[in-house]
């Protein structure tokens, strides 16, 4: 605990030459093979880098205050990091491993998603209770749409026609038309809704409810909840299960859901909704991210200050790596 290895002073390794062609998937964008996993930690004002081969910390990139949500910009050489206490996002050149610019995002930005063409960022602003639309070219907030208090998870539909955002206080998913700047529908879901994942065909939007101990499944056609997965796990009390981060397996058959205080990641079979595996990870498992071929799942553990790497095929944790204080999210670029 007291001797946690920090790599702020480590010498930077030789810069990797960006070479590989971009993978061309509609929803997943890869950077140019830095071989790194990037980890934002709320109390570090820095992004830790994990070497994906050796699973060791390869250094840190100083950034804005309280970095949380991260995502690659199209072209996949620039990582955008939203910082709650700096009211902006930093743009990090992952090859150079340094901040090369920033974009103002409004008060206390938490999460964001990009429009499919990359021209706009949709940002949840916790303090304002608004979804801000940021023009990525002019770097200006062009619209601010009031939603329920403490919006968090943001997801743009693959065709760009809608943006989904959760409100932790209103217990709703707001469906927003980003062009008209209007709320199209409010969908009531479980308590303290957090994060989204779309199924492979885009027909289902899964949303975790941290205090509902559940996942609500929304049909993107009818915009209504068609099913709620309540976690009832032997040996765990429902109050200890606080799901947050989730992501879909590369084959589209399994959803990985981090169960928060329960310190496990659930492998849910998308078709049957059954939990097939539970993998023990660190304390308060928060956001999850896959590597490129989907063989490994990286889990940010908020209360044990580390990242657990899971071998997906074996459903087994293979290593836990100390990173920074209060890890929030991982983006893998192997």
């Amino acid at each position: 605990m007291f001797t946690r290895r920090r790599c702020r002073t480590c010498a930077l390794g030789p810069l990797l030459v960006a070479s590989a062609a971009l993978a061309s998937s509609a929803s997943v964008v890869y950077a140019k093979d830095t071989g790194l996993a990037f980890v934002s930690s709320e109390k570090d004002n820095a992004i830790a880098m994990i070497d994906v081969k050796s699973l060791a910390v390869a250094g840190t990139i100083p950034t804005c205050k309280r970095p949380r949500h991260m995502q690659f910009l199209p072209g996949a050489t620039t990582l955008m990091v939203a910082c709650g206490d700096s009211n902006r996002a930093d743009l990090i050149d992952v090859a150079a491993r340094k901040v090369v610019g920033n974009i103002p995002l409004g008060d206390d930005p938490e999460a964001f998603d990009l429009s499919p063409d990359g021209k706009f960022a949709y940002v949840s602003n916790e303090e304002e209770g608004a979804l801000n639309i940021v023009d990525m070219t002019s770097k200006k907030i062009v619209k601010s749409i009031p939603v329920g208090k403490e919006p968090e998870g943001v997801r743009a539909a693959p065709d760009g026609s809608r943006v989904y955002v959760t409100s932790e206080v209103a217990n709703m998913v707001h469906v927003i038309d980003p062009v008209a700047g209007k709320v199209l529908k409010n969908i009531q879901v479980g308590k303290r809704p957090r994060r989204f994942a779309l199924t492979a065909d885009g027909g289902e939007l899964w949303v975790t409810s941290e205090l509902g101990a559940s996942v609500s499944i929304i049909s993107t056609r009818d915009l209504s909840v068609t099913q709620t997965i309540n976690f009832e796990i032997k040996g765990m009390r429902p109050d200890d299960i606080t799901p947050v981060g989730l992501t879909l397996a590369r084959d589209g058959k399994t959803m990985f859901v981090a169960l928060g205080r329960a310190s496990h990641v659930a492998f849910i079979d998308v078709a049957s909704r059954k939990t097939n595996h539970l993998v023990l990870v660190g304390k308060r498992a928060w956001n999850v991210a896959l590597n490129r071929d989907g063989s490994r799942l990286f889990v940010a553990n908020g209360l044990s200050d580390d990242v657990t790497v899971i071998d997906v095929a074996q459903a087994k944790a293979i290593k836990t790596i100390p990173v920074g204080r209060v890890p929030y999210m991982v983006v893998v670029d192997d």
């Binding site: 916790e126 303090e127 329920g148 403490e150 709703m172 308590k191 205090l211």
Partner: protein
């Protein structure tokens, strides 16, 4: 200050009216709030001292924060909210005011009244009364009433939280110091029961007195009061707060102080960092212009309970009262777990925060404290004790 607030409330109501004009059927939900007239606890000089566990302002302000943060859902449901705040001079007046609020259509009333006023005025009405300020355990036991719920933690919950924390630290030898105020004897008995329940050992129990009289130094000098005995921790019971505030570091052995000085067990602390708490604390600070105290939290969550029940279509007093005690009725109190009202005494089960006023040191229930169904029920009176006979 108060005038400024009225303007804010009017502003919100105007915004609510405007927004609610769009849905066809806008229903009005009236929330009653009843506090004390000429509340001595809210005397500006006393509030300035900011003793932990003492109120920082009228409970109605906390209700306003809850209504404002729920505006989006209320608009979407076509609900207008009217907060009707009143104050009472005594128990008889409280009775009249409650009857008046009930007649004027309040679906539930948030209370910040002394225990005996609640005991005497509560039975006069059928509407749900949510006690957001009184920790007295008899209201949850011998004097419990079918329409009275509690969001403020009971005295016993707070004592249990501290006793658990001491037990978890293995600070088992306790020197108990207590005042002679009207509440101190009852509160001392509650503390002693918690000390016993969690296997701690009271090494001595000594009364203190606020005095500078050299002839009373045995009672007034904290160095003498804490000498001639060995202990792991001092637990001070001081409902007034002045003696306890000066106690830490002014003692004969280098030991921690808990209770009404040093480390407190409270429903809320404005500097709590986890579970999204800073967002709520900031909303309160921004809206009301002062830090959110534990009393404010209790008033806020009481209003949230009423609003949530209303959004679940409980729009009459009877439906509200029924909704609160449904097994599935859970609240998000920004404390990381689901909160709900205990069926046996209608007390809101909740974690408590161990705080010294500068930060939150620990949470109760302490790790390792077990319970057959819900660890939160290790704080306060549990079902099998059967202390409240009115279901």
């Amino acid at each position: 200050m108060i005038d400024r607030w009225r303007i804010h409330v009017v502003g919100w109501l105007a915004a609510a009216l405007l927004a609610a004009a769009l849905p066809a059927q806008a229903a009005t939900l009236t929330i009653g709030v009843l506090g004390r007239a000429d509340d001595e606890r809210l005397d500006p000089r006393r509030v300035e001292l900011a003793y932990l566990g003492h109120p920082g302002g009228p409970v109605a302000r906390a209700v306003d924060v809850a209504v404002k943060e729920s505006q989006f859902e209320l608009d979407a449901a076509g609900l207008k909210v009217k907060v009707e705040a009143a104050t009472a001079r005594d128990a008889a007046d409280a009775r009249n005011q409650l009857q008046r609020l009930e007649k004027s259509g309040a679906v539930a009333v948030v209370l910040d009244l002394p225990a005996d006023w609640i005991a005497r005025a509560g039975p006069a009405v059928k509407v749900a009364l949510i006690n957001a300020g009184e920790p007295d355990d008899t209201l949850r036991a011998a004097q419990c009433q079918p329409n009275v719920l509690h969001t403020y933690p009971s005295e016993r919950m707070r004592a249990d939280a501290l006793a658990q924390t001491l037990a978890a630290r293995r600070w088992s030898r306790v020197l108990v110091l207590h005042g002679s105020g009207p509440d101190d004897a009852t509160r001392l008995a509650t503390v002693q029961a918690s000390i016993k329940r969690f296997g701690l050992k009271p090494v001595a129990t000594r009364p203190f007195k606020l005095s500078a009289d050299p002839r009373e130094r045995d009672l007034a000098n904290s160095l003498l009061l804490t000498a001639n005995v060995d202990y792991d921790v001092i637990w001070v019971v001081d409902s007034d707060g002045e003696f306890a505030r000066a106690l830490p570091y002014r003692i004969s052995l280098p030991r921690p102080v808990v209770g009404d000085g040093g480390l407190f067990a409270l429903a809320w602390a404005p500097n709590f960092e986890r579970f999204g708490a800073p967002q709520l604390a900031r909303r309160f600070q921004r809206g009301i212009g002062r830090p959110m105290t534990d009393h404010d939290w209790a008033g806020w969550i009481a209003a949230k309970a009423i609003l949530q029940a209303a959004l679940d279509k409980a729009l009459t007093p009877a439906a509200q009262l029924k909704a609160f005690v449904q097994p599935g009725f859970t609240l998000d109190g920004f404390k990381g777990v689901r909160l709900s009202f205990r069926a046996w005494d209608r007390q809101l089960r909740q974690p408590l925060l161990l705080t010294d006023g500068q930060g939150v040191i620990a949470l109760a229930p302490a790790e390792g404290i077990l319970h057959p169904t819900n660890a939160l029920d290790t704080l306060g009176a549990d079902a099998p004790e059967g202390l409240c006979k009115t279901r």
